[in-house]
């Protein structure tokens, strides 16, 4: 039986390896969608770009190097059971795992302290990595999403609060406008996350949670699912192509995550994931046995 200190060390070791893995191997859903998009592509320049992308992923996996140099500010979305033994240690575990993975992989140093404007050189800083919590009653498991978003696909992020009179039509306009202004430069084909809620922060968090959902999944609400499909087809019809240099399609998909709203407001936010959508999901049980959901057949 491991004591708490040993458990903590073991989890840091595993999480650090998991972070490295996410930096050099794309999740299965993203890989297969890119394959599908490249096969449907008819534009010659776009085909050349897809070819470079697959070649890059192959070498990155072989050399175990981050497939994109911008390994982002790490984000973790945690669903932690109230009875998970390391619940109180989890924040420090994720912080230390990030530091360890940064040294060992290596990852890029992406934490610049604001106002003092210096790079910590450790990839961790005040409030980074960012950790978002949900505590689950009656569970002893910890489900963790690891996400590495570079600056390029973070830049299109935007949130606003619409008046109900602007309706979902206003949501459509808000999303589409962002695609042709900032989306082009955010490394399409994109995964587009749309968050609907009351205010900027609820919508923004929903839009990021939307990027955690698998490519090809649909919102359970019929109308939301309809909006996803309409936006996906609509943005595809614009034909941004890989790198925004034109092509048959623009996106890997559009995911909507929604929560209830104040009667007087519609909060809406857009977040984009680039083609190199480095997201991983891992679940630990109370004995730190793990299951990786996003990268089938991979051992840490």
């Amino acid at each position: 039986m491991m004591d708490k200190k040993q458990q903590k060390e073991k989890m840091i070791e595993l999480m650090s390896n998991f972070i490295s893995l996410v930096s050099y191997k794309l999740p299965d859903d993203v890989e297969s969608k890119l394959r599908e998009l490249s096969e449907e592509e008819s534009n010659q320049l776009a085909k050349t770009i897809y070819k470079t992308m697959f070649e890059n992923q192959k070498i990155a996996y072989k050399l175990k190097r981050p497939s994109c140099q911008d390994t982002g500010v790490l984000q973790f979305f945690v669903k932690c059971g109230e009875d998970f033994p390391l619940i109180g240690q989890l924040e420090s575990i994720l912080r230390e795992s990030t530091y360890k993975a940064t040294k060992e992989t290596p990852l890029r140093h992406n934490s610049v302290e604001t106002f003092d404007e210096f790079n910590t050189g450790k990839n961790i800083g005040s409030g980074t990595p960012s950790i978002f919590w949900e505590v689950v009653e009656g569970s002893d498991k910890a489900e963790i999403y690891t996400y590495m978003a570079g600056g390029g696909c973070t830049l299109p992020g935007v949130a606003t609060v619409l008046m109900p009179s602007e309706g979902y039509e206003g949501v459509v306009k808000f999303v589409l406008d962002r695609m042709t202004s900032y989306g082009i430069n955010a490394c399409p084909p994109l995964l587009v996350g749309v968050g609907i809620g009351t205010s900027v922060e609820t919508a923004a968090l929903n839009s990021k949670l939307a990027l955690m959902r698998p490519v090809g999944s649909r919102n359970e609400n019929e109308n939301a699912a309809k909006l996803e499909k309409l936006l996906e087809d609509g943005i595809n019809a614009i034909g941004l192509g890989p790198q925004g240099l034109k092509g048959s399609k623009s996106v890997m998909g559009v995911n909507v995550v929604n929560s209830a709203r104040h009667p007087s407001t519609i909060g809406v936010a857009v977040n984009t994931g680039c083609w190199s959508h480095r997201r991983g999901k891992i679940t630990f049980d109370r004995n730190l046995n793990y299951e990786i959901h996003t990268h089938k057949g991979v051992k840490l």
Binding site: Y24, L45, T48, I49, T52, M53, E55, N56, I59, A60, L63, R65, P66, S67, C68, Q69, D70, T71, P106, R108, H109, N110, V112, F118, N119, G121, G151, G152, P164, G167, Y168, E169, V171, V172, K173, L176, M179, T180, I184, N185, C187, N223, K226, L227, L230, L231, G234, I235, A237, I238, G239, L240, P242, Q243, G244, L245, K246, C274, W275, S276
Partner: protein, 203 residues
Amino acid sequence: MNKKILTTPITDEDLKNIRIGDIIYLNGTLVTCRDVAHRRVVEGGIPLPIDLKGKAIFHAGPIVRETEDKKYEIVSIGPTTSMRMEKFEKQFIEKTGVKLIIGKGGMGKRTEEGCKTYKALHLVFPAGNAVYAATKVERIKDVYWTDLGMPESLWVCEVKEFGPLIVSIDAEGNNLFEQNKAEFNRKKEEQYEYISKQVGFIK
């Protein structure tokens, strides 16, 4: 089709027949140069510690590993959003004589003017392909301004057949992204008309 390869030092003449949408490759010296370095040169009037005349810069922040013999090795290197340098690029080209600006996504009016006036190109390296790009870097010759941290330092790289590089602004000032954008915006309006009729969920 033959691979079109440019070798530094690059002259005005070399760029004459290159047009937007062309794919080229680079041999020679490529220096990483991004946000703060541009600001220092243009706003701060601080001269670069390296002569860029006829050479190429890369809007990029690499991951670099120090090897045992105190040398450096590129682990991953890929382009960052070029538009962030738009504010400075024209003057940067004027001050340095740089010929190729490699990055990600398009650049704007001022860079168009800079490319046209001082004969330079803006090119796109397909972003996110950082290990592929690293295999085209033969060695790091030098590094300057390390006070800016790993991503922002000036890494002087010797590259071989670095590419594919897609010409986004040519030396005549034609701009591929601007042309595409006009088409994208037209299609976007059509899609908005079509979709907005189907989302009247508030009744």
